[in-house]
């Protein structure tokens, strides 16, 4: 298979997930598209260094996240907290609540979640990567990743339940 065809196939396979991840991180379609493009650009230049085809996906997500971090100032960092401290606050959210929320509202709420927590949460919901792979992508210890996901999930569910916006059925 020629390098061009291989690259096109790689783009077709992963650009959607990368774009969604980028959009969840930035909240901007243009920025997400730029991040996705930049990620594949870097792949084309450096991807040869990767000898394990199975780790391509993780590499792409890692690169996109790094590029995102490069482009923004890291701020309002949350201290790492254990799941135990917060699970008791877990709000009960009926599934309908999430069903009735459209993608844009969901993205807006995700955008309100602290940056360090948003990335692991989005990767968690995209269900493409195991916890170990998410930890590798974000260059964080596994325990920290799980703690942040739990904390961010609680934030997301609380905001969903508190949201007074009119809920639309997603197409």
């Amino acid at each position: 298979m020629s390098a061009d065809v291989e690259f096109e196939n790689l783009v077709k396979l992963y650009y959607r997930d990368l774009y969604r991840f980028g959009l969840s991180l930035t909240g901007s379609e243009a920025d997400a598209a730029d991040l996705t493009q930049q990620t594949f650009y870097i792949w084309a230049n450096k991807g040869y260094q990767l000898h394990k085809p199975a780790s391509v996906k993780g590499w792409l997500f890692t690169t996109l996240h790094r590029e995102f971090l490069k482009g923004c100032r890291r701020r309002n960092r949350f201290p790492s907290e254990s799941i135990d401290e917060h699970t008791q606050d877990l709000p009960s959210v009926p599934a309908d609540c999430a069903h009735q929320t459209d993608s844009q509202t969901l993205l807006r709420i995700l955008g309100e979640i602290a940056e360090d927590f948003r990335a692991p949460l989005v990767l968690y919901y995209m269900e493409d990567l195991s916890y170990k792979e998410i930890a590798d992508v974000l260059a964080l210890p596994l325990g920290t990743v799980q703690s942040r996901i739990a904390r961010a999930k609680i934030q997301l569910l609380r905001r969903l339940s508190e949201s007074n916006l009119p809920l639309e059925e997603a197409k």
């Binding site: 598209a33 594949f40 799941i83 135990d84 069903h99 993205l107 968690y124 919901y125 997603a170």
Partner: protein, 207 residues
């Protein structure tokens, strides 16, 4: 394990993708025996699925993939084994070239100019080399040839032959023609290339 502990663990449970993860096994088993926890887990799973579906419903702008492919940088295949091979080839080639140059320098050794005095017969080199003609019997021909610009030489008493030249850009054939086939002593600067000797004439004495 109690319900609260199981919830703490199952908060991260995503369904099939996490089934193989041992951290969830005990909590899932516990949930089977706790109807309240089972109900909570079901709600969480439905909520998780709904959020996931919303996220996955987001579509990139039309034409993004084509744009990515179009703007791809020209790839350079960094196949390290090939690069190492190429580097080795360059190294070997450079080494061989260096050795050849050294050998060539030795073989094509150019002796620096050295002032010497040679006594011998002035030759018309063209006739001498091509037809081994020299001596008084060939004097007339030699004179004509040298005067007309054919190379001149001198054959020393030891048998060594030198090509005679003037200063660069200055022919001395007219002068040498007067001594064609005669024995003279010439003082000059000797240079040797490829085993061929040249004498740049500074002074001629007729014996």
């Amino acid at each position: 394990m109690n319900t609260r502990e199981a919830k703490q663990i199952l908060l991260l449970y995503r369904g099939a993708i996490d089934d193989a993860d041992p951290q969830f096994r005990a909590a899932l088993d516990y949930a089977k025996s706790d109807p309240e926890l089972s109900q909570w887990l079901r709600e969480q799973s439905e909520c998780y699925d709904a959020i996931r579906t919303k996220l996955r419903a987001i579509e990139p702008p039309v034409g993004l993939s084509e744009k990515i492919v179009r703007r791809r940088p020209i790839p350079f295949a960094h196949d390290w084994s090939r690069i190492v091979q190429l580097a080795a080839a360059i190294f070997i080639s450079a080494s061989v070239t260096g050795l050849l140059l050294k050998w060539s320098e030795r073989r094509h050794h150019v002796a620096g100019p050295q002032e010497i005095v040679v006594t011998g017969e002035v030759l018309d080199m063209t006739c001498y080399i091509a037809s081994n003609l020299s001596g008084p019997d060939h004097a007339k021909c030699a004179r004509i040839c040298i005067r007309s610009g054919e190379p001149a030489g001198i054959k020393a008493r030891d048998g060594k032959v030198y090509l005679l030249t003037g200063e660069p850009g200055h022919s001395i054939n007219a002068e040498l023609a007067e001594y064609a086939a005669q024995v003279v002593t010439i003082k000059g600067k000797q240079s040797v290339r490829d085993g061929f000797a040249q004498l740049q004439v500074e002074e001629i004495r007729k014996l």
